[in-house]
């Protein structure tokens, strides 16, 4: 795992903790992520070959800001309550776009891209469902940010402890 991948993954941590206190919030952020990332990928593909490498970053920033801005407005029309609750996590998608472009995500095989989107979605929805269920069951901590960290930690620990063939070094 190189440095850029670390940056990309740590950026995902913010919505993963902040926007998973309920299933609807998590689903909304994930859907918006998919829509914006797809639109961004498609439009970058159209202009990338026509730009000199130095101006690709600017183009990426412009596109990411436009797409995320429009998506945020659409989300406000769709459900203002959802937006007030988790709008700033949705705004982070713009940064995510730029970082993903920088790491060459959009030039990688579609299988890789799909894997990241599905993994992110599975984690968001899983964590959202888990926190909502635990919160409904009376465990208030689960709906707060520290509870999110603890649950994510437990999930990672379970993943590590799962017996599976370890790749040889």
């Amino acid at each position: 795992m190189n440095k850029s991948a670390n940056l990309q993954n740590s950026l995902m941590l913010a919505p993963l903790i902040g926007a998973t206190d309920s299933l609807v919030t998590a689903l909304g952020v994930w859907l918006m992520f998919i829509v914006v990332i797809s639109a961004f990928g498609a439009s970058m593909a159209a202009v990338r070959s026509r730009l000199i490498p130095a101006s690709r970053l600017f183009a990426g920033v412009l596109l990411a800001a436009t797409l995320t801005g429009c998506a945020e407005l659409a989300a406000q029309v769709w459900s203002l309550q959802w937006h007030q609750h988790s709008g700033f996590y949705a705004a982070l998608i713009a940064l995510q776009c730029v970082v993903l472009e920088h790491t060459g995500f959009f030039q990688s095989a579609w299988r890789e891209r799909l894997r990241l989107c599905v993994l992110f979605g599975a984690l968001m929805v899983g964590l959202g469902l888990l926190r909502e269920l635990l919160g409904d069951a009376g465990l208030r901590l689960a709906t707060l940010a520290p509870g999110g960290f603890i649950l994510l930690g437990l999930l990672i620990a379970a993943w590590q402890a799962w017996p599976r063939p370890t790749p040889s070094h």
């Binding site: 026509r50 730009l51 101006s55 412009l62 436009t66 429009c70 203002l80």
Partner: protein, 203 residues
């Protein structure tokens, strides 16, 4: 693929981006504003039974005079009426809790009795003071029906301070601030009731 064509494409992207965002903003702003008003009024007005008033209280803000009270500040007020008769005054009050400002909405009926209290904004300790934000709220229900004279001044405090109200466990400062703000609002209503109830009727 030259420097010039790159610059032109960038300019084009910037123009398109600004245009698209502006158009989307322009077309969605009225709907967002309407939705915001709907949320606001639903948030504010679930304090009152829905059949107890027939006006749009948020469209009828009260003109408050001096608004800095002993322990709190009044940010605004609304008048709810039914068939032209004043039913309740809603006062928006801000006080300082343990962690920061607390915004309360305090509903007082025309006779000066408290109809309900609701927290609009707070940043108290999660799990302790932040429980004032729960809705419906059993702690606030203890205040319903109270007024400036019932209990008397000394009763408007926590049991810990020789008053008659329970506190939220683990949140003395928050509870104290809220009680003082409610008491302030009732006192303000008592002193200005004619002006509060009257000023709405002229409009």
């Amino acid at each position: 693929m030259s420097r010039t064509s790159s610059a032109v494409i960038l300019l084009l992207l910037a123009g398109l981006g600004i245009g698209a965002t502006y158009l989307v903003q322009y077309s969605s702003a009225p709907r967002i504003a309407a939705e915001q008003r709907r949320i606001d009024s639903r948030n504010l007005l679930d304090l009152l039974p829905s059949d107890s008033y027939d006006n749009q209280p948020l469209e009828q803000p009260l003109h408050l005079g001096s608004t800095a009270l002993t322990n709190s500040t009044l940010l605004g007020g609304y008048l709810a009426t039914k068939a032209g008769q004043p039913v309740a005054v809603l006062l928006r009050s801000q006080t300082i809790g343990y962690a920061g400002a607390i915004d309360l909405l305090i509903a007082i009926d025309a006779n000066g009795k408290l109809l309900g209290v609701k927290t609009l904004k707070q940043s108290e300790t999660p799990g302790l003071g932040a429980r004032i934000a729960d809705w419906p709220n059993t702690w606030f229900q203890a205040f319903t029906g109270k007024s400036l004279n019932e209990p008397a001044d000394s009763g408007w405090a926590l049991k810990k301070d020789q008053g008659q109200f329970d506190q939220i466990a683990g949140a003395t400062i928050t509870s104290r601030a809220v009680i003082n703000a409610i008491h302030d609002a009732l006192r303000y209503f008592d002193e200005h009731s004619r002006q509060l109830i009257g000023s709405g009727l002229h409009e």
